[in-house]
Amino acid sequence: MRRACRFLPVILCLILPACSPPESSSATSSNAITDRGSDTLVNLALAWAETYAKIDPSVSISVSGGGSGVGITSLIEKTTDIANASRAIKPEEVQSAKDNGVEPMEFIVARDAIGVIVNPANPINQLTLQQVSDIYSGKTSNWKDLGGEDRPIVRVSREVTSGTHVYFLESVIRLGNSKDTTIFAADTLLLPSSEGIMSEVGQNPNAIGYDGLGYITPTVKKIRLSKDPAGPFIEPTVATALDGTYPISRDLYMYTNGEPTGKVKEYLDWILGPEGQKVVSDLGFVPIS
């Protein structure tokens, strides 16, 4: 009997984990909205949530970042009501969603211009898209090759989970050519946040970086860009993004599972309406139309 008792603890250790709680409620209870995803959108999403809370205090909206990839994954796994993304959902992701019983519905909620930035002490003021592509793919490694000082180029970027990163890869490094397989140079710094990018570019004269307009601080210098080597070289601003003269601007998205209903629908309608769009321009992003 004593002998057998010795094994009881072991058995218990194996049984205990099998007990699990009642299924915890999924993302939606009627008055709570979860909003997850793009770090580019996160501050905008937060501002929307806060402003909306004053209009409809019965709704509580929780906001999280992590990257466009995080948001879309959460949508697929049904752990969020709204997914924020700074890039369009990929066909593979749509397929995964459908496999999981989720129908992603896309809403363009704002626009954003991507600014290329350098240290204020850098004498360079303008570049063509091809030059930026060559820098980031590793072909150009010294500022003097572009007419600047004799300094090594330190490439700074967002992480691979960032929609901004993916957008930059497709539209700038690959210049929109979907057959191109060029990728970032191996020594590109992949910083987890916009703040890190501003900090590095702001105090390192060797650095070049990129980020959404809403995140660029006065501590860095924006480069004027042009598709064509002959010019004109355009400064990234809300105006040039709106009228399309600035070559790299993009849509920002929110995705829901199917047609939104109830409080989520009211929230999205408000975001797409004049009040929501006012918040967009207050934050330095570009309102839709």
Binding site: P17, S20, P21, E23, S24, S25, D39, V42, N43, L46, A47, A49, E50, A53, S60, I61, S62, V63, S64, G65, T79, P192, S193, S194, E195, G196, M198, G214, Y215, T217
Partner: protein, 283 residues
């Protein structure tokens, strides 16, 4: 030329003192820097209000509450298990291959990276057991992470109690558990407390384990149950120092300072208890 023992000693001691001084200076520099930059941000409002205006204003109350909840939750789970495990190892276990396996397991647990704990917590507590991204999942993950520190230091503390104490107790008719509970444990308490506090400090300051098991960027209200997500100071600091543009640097330092004070307070209590009991040590 043989160097005299006295000279060797002087050199050795000078080197040790220099290293110690360097370490102390570095620690002082870091703390002073945080205090200097963060103190102006601290006010009653900062500590007790909810964040507003995209976290750029208002306070960090929900993050403070979150960290307190997570720390207590971790302690509630990890301390009993860890202490009992340490008692097992120090008082009951014989030197068998199985006991050696347990020791190896503990040392291994302490070496596992915090992000792997986060992955495990995600896979087991959030997904498999269905707790979802919640305080419960985070506390369980943090508890397993804290376990090895508690067990190692508690066992070391229990072992350092001389065998004579146990022998005398048993010879006077005490049972094994009575001996442990009334004699050995109280004597080993200072060392055990060190381990518990070191472990909990780390749990309070860790970000990776809670990243995918329960931390949230922004919640409009305090968590209502253990199945809710929560804000937490370390994650909050990470978020405001990396994600929020135009975040006043002072508030970042302020948040860092609050976390630091939280931890310093735990330290102070532990130190006081430990020095008090060291004086009363009976061997």
């Amino acid at each position: 030329m043989r160097v005299s023992r006295t000279v060797t000693q002087r050199i050795a001691f000078a080197l040790l003192t220099a290293i110690m001084a360097l370490t102390v200076l570095a620690i002082l520099a870091i703390i002073t820097y945080i205090f200097w930059n963060g103190l102006p941000a601290i006010s009653l409002e900062f500590l007790s209000a909810m964040p507003s205006n995209g976290m750029r204003e208002g306070g960090i109350w929900p993050a403070i509450v979150g960290t307190v909840i997570l720390t207590i939750g971790t302690a509630v789970i990890a301390v009993p298990i860890g202490l009992l495990a340490a008692i097992y190892l120090s008082e009951y276990a014989s030197d068998s291959p199985f006991t050696r396996t347990i020791r190896i397991a503990i040392v291994n647990l302490s070496g596992i990276p915090s992000v792997v704990y986060g992955l495990f917590g995600l896979a087991l507590f959030v997904l498999f057991l269905g707790f979802g991204s919640s305080i419960l999942a985070s506390c369980l993950t943090l508890a397993i992470m804290t376990l090895p520190v508690i067990i190692s230091t508690a066992e070391e503390a229990l072992r350092s109690v001389p065998q004579s104490f146990r022998v005398v107790s048993i010879s006077m008719g005490g049972t094994r558990w009575q001996t442990i509970w009334r004699i050995v444990l109280p004597q080993a308490l200072p060392g055990i407390l060190t381990g518990v506090i070191l472990g909990l400090e780390r749990a309070a300051g860790e970000t990776a384990p809670i990243l995918f098991t329960g931390a949230a960027f922004f919640l409009p209200q305090l968590p209502q149950s253990i199945f809710d997500e929560t804000m937490a100071l370390p994650y909050h600091l990470f978020v405001i120092s990396t994600q929020v543009p135009g975040m006043p640097v002072q508030l970042q330092y302020g948040t860092a300072l609050v976390l630091l004070i939280f931890v310093l307070a735990m330290n102070l209590i532990a130190t006081f208890i430990r020095s008090y009991f060291r004086r009363k040590r009976q061997w």
